[in-house]
């Protein structure tokens, strides 16, 4: 992974010192609430329902064990011993104290971590494929480009006060596990028939209250033009993006208003005018960063069948929580943060330390966070899987539900977030309880359930096969359900099935939905494909046919 040099480290320490000074001025009353807000957000700090929330950047989801241990220590010292993995691969702390935040940032800086630009109207943490570097279908490892974009975007003088937040994702595989169409800019690495690689560029995606999928703005961008093209897009957006209405300020609205053709013209024109003034991505620069992402020293190992002679629960875990690896004898392992009875994405300090130990022992000392709020140990020898499973099981990190209904995404909701209209955590618990039978979950097959506590859509509900959106109805928490969304493959936005349901009936409603699928599915057909084939009507009919008893 990328290791800081003296320049990166100097920059980061200067950033911490700056924020320490800004916090001091705010607490002394010499910096206004409004101005401090702009500054603290760009350092990851929100003021929430109960306390501040600090969103720590995990660039493209990659962590060393040293960093993970530091996060555990910080979580224990400054919070309540629990962290929350977000849908943008970051880690949130829900209980830090404002005067201590500069100390937290200083401790993060010691392990080359920060919270820079994890919030605010600026270029956010760059996200990527959690199987980068190990996926068999990969064209090229996207992480060097992510790191280069991270550096380019960090305190970019021109683009740190944009109309609204700006999210970039990079995918390097044929299967898109980075959800590029849900991003302001999505970059897809393209093979160039043996020539130098480049990117397919998508622009104008975003969820939130007006969900829109990104459109392709350029078929092929030579890699050396990466920064020049990004600057062209950002410059057009910074000039023309709306600033009069926060709900219309994302680039997706600009693209929608102008149309993709006009947007493309403006970007290309700006690119031509500005490219000689923008940095070029030089081969030296790329080589320097790429050297940080060399594959670990894999041993020569044959592929084996690790399930032979093992018990059924291990077989299930192997099937659901591990993935193929490009190197023989290895496997990528999901560490499920979706244990039934726990908040999706939460991880305790003790679990962080234990995972760090395991990663050191079994996976070359690296851990990844995923956008669906789990962890990945990407390089585990197949011979060690059983031992790893036993250890993860003791840690309650081996729930064999990855890709199933209870591997759901949920934002923190009303329990923590001051934007939320409704709780998500209690609903998640009710769903986990109702779908606690793993065999039933396996019978339902892959289903992506995504839940947000408000229309800002941090839980990505629009692109869930099943989406749940919390709404406030006369002071009560109700939930609107959508079907047919998808973030990758054939990306699509879900369709609302009908009137919202009260909190107590969400789990029962889901059960009706999946029962329709069980009745209607063709042989071996997945949930999303059934929904696409038969449409939402049959689901709607069944869900609203008779009154639901409370769960």
């Amino acid at each position: 992974m990328y290791r800081y040099d003296a320049l990166d480290q100097a920059f980061l320490e200067q950033r911490v010192a700056e924020f320490r000074d800004q916090t001091r001025r705010f607490l002394a009353g010499s910096l206004s609430e409004e101005e401090f807000k702009a500054l603290r957000l760009r350092n990851g700090l929100y003021i929430q329902r109960h306390a501040p929330m600090l969103r720590i950047a995990i660039p493209y989801g990659l962590l060393s064990t040293r960093q993970l241990r530091a996060l555990a220590a910080i979580t224990r010292r400054y919070d309540r011993g629990i962290g929350h993995v977000t849908t943008r691969q970051n880690l949130q702390l829900n209980w830090p104290q404002l005067p201590e935040v500069p100390d937290i940032l200083a401790e993060l800086a010691e392990v080359q971590m920060h919270a820079i630009q994890t919030s605010g109207n600026c270029v956010r943490n760059v996200t990527s494929d959690h199987l980068a570097g190990v996926a068999p279908d990969e064209i090229e490892d996207p992480r060097p480009y992510c790191e280069l974009i991270r550096q380019w975007a960090t305190l970019h003088p021109e683009f740190t006060y944009l109309p609204r937040k700006f999210k970039i994702a990079v995918s390097g595989s044929s299967a898109d596990r980075a959800l590029i169409q849900a991003h302001d800019i999505g970059l897809r690495i393209r093979d160039n028939a043996g020539g130098p690689l480049g990117f397919e560029v998508w622009v104008g995606g975003g969820l939130g209250r007006q969900p829109i999928l990104a459109q392709r703005v350029r078929e092929f961008l030579p890699a050396e033009e990466l920064f020049a093209y990004l600057e062209a897009v950002l410059r057009v957006y910074n000039r023309l993006g709306r600033r009069d209405n926060i709900h219309k300020a994302r680039i997706k609205i600009l693209v929608k208003t102008l149309g993709i053709e006009r947007m493309r013209e403006l970007i290309e024109q700006e690119w031509r005018s500005g490219r000689e003034h923008s940095p070029r991505l030089s081969p030296e620069q790329l080589a320097r960063v790429r050297a940080h992402f060399e594959p670990p020293p894999y041993e020569t190992r044959p592929d084996i069948d690790p399930t032979r002679g093992r018990e059924a629960p291990f077989l299930a875990w192997y099937r659901y929580n591990t993935r193929a690896h490009r190197v023989s004898g290895y496997r990528a392992v999901f560490v499920s943060l979706k244990a039934h009875g726990r908040n999706p994405g939460d991880i305790t300090a003790g679990q962080m330390e234990a995972v760090a130990d395991l990663a050191e022992e079994l996976s070359f000392g690296e851990v990844r966070t995923t956008h669906d709020q789990n962890l990945v140990l990407a390089d585990v020898p197949q011979t060690e899987l059983y031992r790893l499973w036993l250890r993860l099981r003791e840690l309650e990190l081996a729930t064999a539900n990855i890709g199933t209904l209870t591997d759901m995404i949920a934002c923190p909701g009303l329990d923590f977030c001051s934007l939320a209209n409704a709780g998500t955590l209690s609903v998640a618990r009710a769903i986990q309880a109702r779908f606690d039978d793993l065999d039933y979950l396996y019978d339902l097959g892959p289903i992506e359930l995504k839940m947000s506590g408000c229309m800002n859509a941090c839980g990505h509900h629009h692109i869930g096969h099943i989406g749940i959106l919390g709404v406030d109805k006369h002071g009560e928490e109700w939930y609107q359900i959508t079907l047919g969304g998808a973030g990758s493959g054939r990306a699509a936005l879900g369709e609302v099935i009908g009137p919202s349901v009260p909190q107590a009936q969400v789990a029962a409603t889901l059960e009706r939905i999946v029962e329709v699928y069980r009745d209607e599915r063709a042989d071996g057909e997945y949930f999303i494909d059934t929904v696409r084939r038969i449409g939402i009507e049959p689901f709607k009919e069944r869900v609203y046919a008779t009154d639901l008893a409370a769960a």
Binding site: D5, L7, D8, A10, F11, Q14, R15, A17, E18, Q22, E34, E35, K37, A38, L39, N121, Q151, W152, T154, L155, H156, P157, E158, F159, T160, Y161, L162, R235, N238, R239, R243, S273, G274, H277, P279, S282, E284, Q285, R288
Partner: protein, 161 residues
Amino acid sequence: MRRILRQREWVIDHWRYPGEPASQTDDLVVPLAELHAQPGQSLRRGGKLGVRLTPADDPEQLRADLPRLSLVAVEFPNFSDGRGFTQATVLRRLGFAGEVRAVGAGVKRDLLLLMARCGCDAFDLAEGEDPQSALQALGRYSVAYQKAEPLPAVERVRFGA
């Protein structure tokens, strides 16, 4: 008497802003609309000529005017409207070598370095902002990740480019 921070010096400013009384020989800043309404007349003045952009103005519109301008004032009204950063960048890209002055309530120490790195070389500090702290803030960082005058860019240090 207005003082501004110019080239890191706390100096008396002789320019007259729109609405301020000015003689024929004073250096005068006019709004963009006025500049474009009376192109010839403005040129006949004795003093130097400057223009003030609002955040919505497109600096490309100044392309033809730049040779007769000694100053362009770019507005930063608060800590959220960052269009001025792009305006300053584009002005320098167009080859403007005169003064690019940051004006407005957002011209405070926390944003000065970003402004400077986009090409602003003069700062009409917001009310109550003290020049000493502003100067310190300009010196807070030793490197930047982008092409970043007055700071050395990380890539240049790394590769000597």
